[in-house]
């Protein structure tokens, strides 16, 4: 059986890869001819400003190459029958008029096509032909004909060497049996024309955020130069928030991502136009995610971006095309002139959702998104059908990716047996030992990312002058699927036995090229990566000098490549057990889910009881009972045979490596030693005990303490709540994400129990993102009073004996007010556990600046650590709510299952190795090795037995401390041997400049 995934955006891609890596067959259905979704249109991703395509493209290629994934693009679901475990799905694949199996993606047809059609990828700001590829890195890389634009001239058919164009292609019906379905339909962007007062579609210099994104992109309409419609470079830009969000007339909910992407747009725009003045108009700045608040601070402090706490009422156009923006702030009206206005449009449910809700028989919520429950955040109303990404609520990429993994974890449960999908068969490896090096060099343009600063053609020609290079070429995108084909072809045609690619960083793209070598029958280690983008074109301006430097880097790469040797992967067995640290919501969820997959779990909790923070939550904002959830989880965990719970216990030590860890748990009954293959860190976080605002006084309490009181039935008559206590300050720059929600939840509860109670909330920004906005709106309607304060002018809490009073400044009245409530409630920060530091040392995984655990990649690997076999879930990652915690826990399960579902894992071959003829067993390396991977062993020789150092490869990390310690160079790390690096140095320094 297999899984159907509908939607080929980043969520669909992640879910596909997780399931496919866990050994399941996946059908990925995409409406468009290519996958990639919204993320493929983004220039950069917040908050790291990573190039979006750079991190997406390897994933696209992974999907395209994965033996367990079948992409069915340009297709839609027509009918679904059956039930969980056995769905029968009917899919209609619409004709593309190009035979995908024949098209090489060469693009000759598109250059000759006489039609100019609006380019959707560039949001209507450029033209494409009628036969086209949505974007250069697209997967599948096959052109399609847009018949609504095609004039039927037949040129493409005539010029296509591959004979791929087929005007007669018909639609195709595909029928599949699948055990479960994941909906990753994505969302639609709000049509800004519906907010007529902003003049979108009428004023040419009012554009949407996605258009601005395309303008900023190097692959955009002006190659990354920001121009207005009249060709002028805008020097004063207004960015308007909440266009189609938080708006009673259109969509009442918050779209969650716009404030941070507007911040990103402002920063990137400043980088493109350093003297530009950028204003962001937002009612509240909702930068609530991990690292987002720091990002917004950087925008303000380093880039001089101006944030206005205001909503724009109307825009007028002047004759010169400039725009007058009318806005209100603190009850006063202002007008300001701008060159360009960018509308930060929000998300809506996509068109297909309604249709699909009927086909799949699932319920939608009041906003037309897929309905989920906050305790089962990826489950739809129909068993066996799951949802991920924006289809159920607007959210950013990491949350979508986490949900995708989470839905994959759920989908796994319907697989009775793992489909036996074999390892991809690679052609037999060619034996190149003894061959003279025949090196092929590929220089990447990376669009214009490299080519604009480095003369790639000159570089490719230079490569030809180097010894051993028999082939050299330059390509537009070395990472694209067609470039991989070119590399393979060159390997074959020129009998190459070493490949050097000069492109971006090996840290992201090395696996891709190694695989290409394998597909071409070459050992993957006969590959050398030369970084001429991150470490050359992006950090230099002078083209001549940058080109010289690139030559020198390439020369080093070629010198090293000459000495590359074929290496064999190291295979190790996997212990199918998991260690879960932390018995809170995340830990228990993960344990139960893993146990359902047949994985034995060790659940370690430092407290005497399971439950963690969940123990202190008595109701949720949407009226659910977390205590019921807690009781259910604890009961299930404690009665599960596959879960061994250690309470009052901590991790004492960890040894070993991915698939084979050996840990010592300190329990009240002594030390317990366990073996396991994976680790999930779910150690949670805690509420900050404030030092400010008179905390400690009987009448000054935190939100959690208030909730406990209300839980006991003590409802205060008057409350002043202060937001951002201990968050968003110099010590703790991050936003704690959950406290706005907590304040409103408690305010509503007070109002529910005592409608006469007075609740005043003093806030900086109310961050009720997504559908939580409804509760903010409800609280206002029910008489909760919200008063804004700034960090420069914070409220003051004074205690006098048993009395407490709060003095605060009201911006609208323009005066200081004093309130004497029954209780002052501090919305206190969520802070990382103190023991994170020690744990991070034990596990050798990093913490971020704030002391939370740092994931492998903030966008695409939210629950992985850089260290293989260790995963992250819950509040240990960052502050979050119950549904988000559950998603992350399930995501960690899915990621762990990609490992634990295997009997064997294959490890990198770059390990230490001893050249026995030179080793004399002095033992310096043995004692220097940080993981004790080296031993002195006896080896039989013709004359007797001799002692030599010997490396235990499964333990060796390949760090090379041994190799630098050895006086005779007898132990080397393969791929970084003494002579390989020495040669690289020679090559590097041989080039003048």
């Amino acid at each position: 059986m297999s899984v159907l995934i509908v939607g080929g955006g980043i969520a669909g891609i992640q879910a596909s890869l997780d399931l496919a890596d866990s050994g399941l067959k996946v059908y990925l259905v995409e409406k468009l001819p290519v996958i990639g979704g919204r993320m493929s249109q983004l220039d950069k991703t917040f908050p790291t400003n990573d190039c979006s395509m750079c991190i997406l493209s390897p994933k696209l290629n992974e999907v395209a190459r994965h033996e367990n994934i079948e992409i069915i693009s340009n297709a839609e679901i027509v009918a679904v029958e059956g039930e969980a475990g056995n769905f029968r799905v009917k899919i209609r694949r619409n004709p593309t008029y190009v035979d995908r199996s024949k098209c090489t993606g060469c693009g000759v047809c598109a250059t000759l096509c006489p039609v100019n059609a609006i380019d959707e990828y560039n949001e209507g700001m450029s033209y494409r032909s009628a036969i086209f590829l949505r974007y250069p890195q697209a997967v599948p890389k096959a052109y399609v004909i847009d018949r609504s634009r095609c004039v039927g001239c037949g040129i493409c058919q005539n010029v296509c060497v591959a004979k791929a164009v087929d005007y007669t292609q018909k639609e195709e019906i595909i029928e599949l049996n699948v055990s479960s379905i994941i909906l990753a339909l994505g969302g639609k962007l709000f049509d800004a024309r519906r907010r007529g007062e902003y003049g979108y579609g009428i004023y040419p210099n009012v554009i949407t955020s996605i258009q601005f994104e395309r303008l900023l992109s190097a692959t955009g309409p002006y190659e990354g130069h920001v121009f207005r419609s009249d060709g002028k470079v805008p020097k004063k830009i207004a960015i308007l928030q909440c266009v189609g969000s938080r708006d009673a007339k259109t969509n009442p909910y918050c779209s969650s991502v716009c404030c941070t992407y507007a911040t990103k747009h402002a920063i990137i725009a400043k980088e493109h136009i350093p003297d530009a003045e950028i204003h962001i108009f937002a009612m509240d700045v909702r930068t609530f995610g991990k690292g987002f608040e720091e990002y917004a601070n950087r925008a303000k402090e380093e880039y001089g971006v101006i944030y206005h706490k205001a909503r724009v009422a109307k825009i007028f156009q002047k004759k010169n095309g400039n725009l007058i923006v009318k806005y209100e702030r603190d009850g006063k009206s202002f007008e300001e002139e701008f060159d360009l206005v960018v509308l930060s449009v929000g998300f809506e449910a996509c068109e297909d959702i309604r249709k699909y809700s009927e086909i799949f028989g699932i319920n939608l919520n009041e906003y037309g998104f897929v309905l989920t429950d906050s305790f089962s955040p990826v489950e739809t109303s129909k068993p066996g059908i799951f949802v991920a990404g924006i289809a159920c609520e607007p959210k950013d990429i990491p949350e979508s990716v986490a949900q995708a993994s989470a839905s994959a974890a759920k989908a796994l449960s319907y697989e009775k047996e793992r489909a036996v999908v074999g390892k991809k068969e690679f052609p037999p490896e060619r034996d190149v030992i003894g061959e003279v090096p025949r090196i092929g060099v590929f220089v990447c343009h990376c669009g214009i990312n490299i080519a604009s600063t480095v003369d790639v053609e000159e570089l490719a020609n230079f490569a030809k002058t180097l010894d051993g290079v028999v082939f050299s070429d330059h390509v537009l995108f070395a990472c694209s699927a067609d470039s991989q084909e070119r590399i393979k072809k060159a390997i074959k045609d020129y009998n190459l036995n070493r490949i050097v690619v000069a492109a971006c960083t090996p840290r992201t793209h090395e696996p891709l090229f190694r695989r290409t070598l394998m597909e071409a029958g070459l050992n993957p280690y006969l590959f050398e990566f030369v970084n001429i983008r991150e470490q050359c074109s992006w950090v230099h301006r002078d083209k001549a000098r940058a080109t010289e430097k690139a030559k020198s880097l390439l020369s080093a790469g070629v010198h090293k490549a000459r000495l590359l040797e074929p290496l064999q992967f190291v295979e190790v067995n996997v212990v199918k057990k998991a260690l879960i640290l932390g018995g809170g919501l995340a830990g228990m969820t993960a344990a139960l889910e893993l146990a359902k997959r047949g994985i034995e779990c060790y659940l370690v909790e430092k407290d005497s009881e399971l439950g963690g923070n969940l123990r202190h939550i008595y109701y949720t904002i949407d009226g659910k009972n977390p205590q019921d959830l807690l009781r259910k989880l604890v009961a299930e965990v404690e009665s599960n045979d596959r879960i061994k719970v250690f309470k009052n216990s901590t991790l004492e030590s960890v040894e070993g490596f991915v698939g084979n860890y050996r840990s010592r748990i300190k329990t009240p009954n002594g030390i317990v030693e366990i073996n396991h293959g994976a680790i999930i860190v779910a150690t949670g976080a805690r509420e900050y005990k404030p030092k400010e605002f008179g905390y400690g006084h009987r009448k000054v309490i935190t939100q959690v303490e208030l909730e406990e009181r209300i839980g006991r039935g003590e409802v205060p008559k008057s409350v002043v709540m202060i937001q951002c206590v201990g968050s968003r300050n110099d010590y703790r720059p991050y936003c704690s994400r959950i406290c706005c929600q907590a304040a409103i939840k408690n305010a509503l509860k007070i109002k529910e129990l005592n409608p006469e109670a007075e609740v005043l909330i003093l806030f900086r920004d109310i961050r009720t993102y997504g559908f939580l906005e409804k509760y903010y709106e409800r609280a206002s309607r029910e008489g909760v009073i919200f008063v804004h304060y700034t960090p420069e002018n914070p409220p003051v809490v004074r205690t006098n004996g048993d009395e407490v009073e709060v003095e605060f400044y009201d911006e609208i009245l323009g005066e200081k007010l004093i309130s004497k409530p029954e209780l002052v409630v501090l919305s206190s920060a969520t802070v990382p556990n103190e023991d994170n530091k020690e744990l991070s040392k034990l596990l050798k995984v990093p913490l971020d600046q704030n002391g939370f655990f740092l994931e492998a990649h903030p966008k695409l690997r939210p629950v992985d650590f850089a260290t293989e076999g260790i995963f992250l879930a819950g509040l240990a990652h960052s502050p979050r709510l119950i549904p988000e915690t559950i998603s992350l826990a399930l995501a960690a399960v899915s990621r762990a299952m990609t490992l634990l579902s295997k009997d064997k894992i294959i490890m990198d071959a770059s390990k230490a190795e001893v050249a026995r003829e030179r080793c004399d067993a002095c033992g310096i390396c043995v004692k220097a090795c940080p993981v004790s991977a080296i031993e002195i062993a006896e080896f039989k020789t013709r004359t007797g037995v001799e002692l030599k150092a010997s490396v235990k490869k499964a333990i060796c990390l390949g760090c090379g401390i041994c190799s630098a310690s050895c006086p005779k160079g007898a132990i080397v790390v393969k791929g970084f041997t003494f002579d390989q690096i020495k040669s690289a140095l020679d090559g590097l320094l041989e080039v003048s400049a």
């Binding site: 400003n49 840290r507 991150e534 002078d542 850089a866």
Partner: protein, 134 residues
């Protein structure tokens, strides 16, 4: 000037990548050789670099305590001190050898340190003492 940087894969190489992603500028003279850990940098490579005409050499690794391999950077520092002392003792400008801790998030630091080191090396002039000539 020719400046060779041995950058560890996990921190400094990633930091240099971040400098690129952030489009921070530093001199073209700086050229990076990727190693898995600063602890694998063999002093002989550094001498080889000087022999082949490097004007400056940087060993760049994770901050103490942050090493991906726990302790590789401590070993790097140990060898660095030995070599630096010896180079100084024979009258070689030991400022041409630099040890730098730069994390994956310190793109800015990396770029700034490279610009500063280039200045140091430029003030010393071309490295002649160990440069090998036919």
């Amino acid at each position: 000037m020719k400046i060779v940087v041995f950058a560890c894969n996990w921190c400094s190489y990633a930091g240099a990548d971040l400098a690129g992603v952030s489009r921070l500028k530093y001199p073209e003279d700086v050229k990076i050789i990727r190693v898995m850990c600063s602890g694998m940098v063999n002093p002989a490579w550094i001498l080889r670099a000087f022999r082949q005409g490097a004007d400056g050499v940087v060993i760049a690794g994770c901050h103490p305590g942050d090493c991906h391999y726990m302790v590789g950077n401590y070993y790097a520092k140990k060898r660095y001190i030995l070599l630096k002392e010896l180079l100084n003792f024979i009258g070689f400008e030991d400022e041409r050898l630099k040890l730098l801790w730069a994390s994956a998030s310190e793109g800015k630091k990396f770029a700034e340190e490279m610009a500063a080191f280039k200045n140091v090396v430029e003030n010393l002039g071309e490295q002649e003492k160990l440069r090998w000539k036919e």
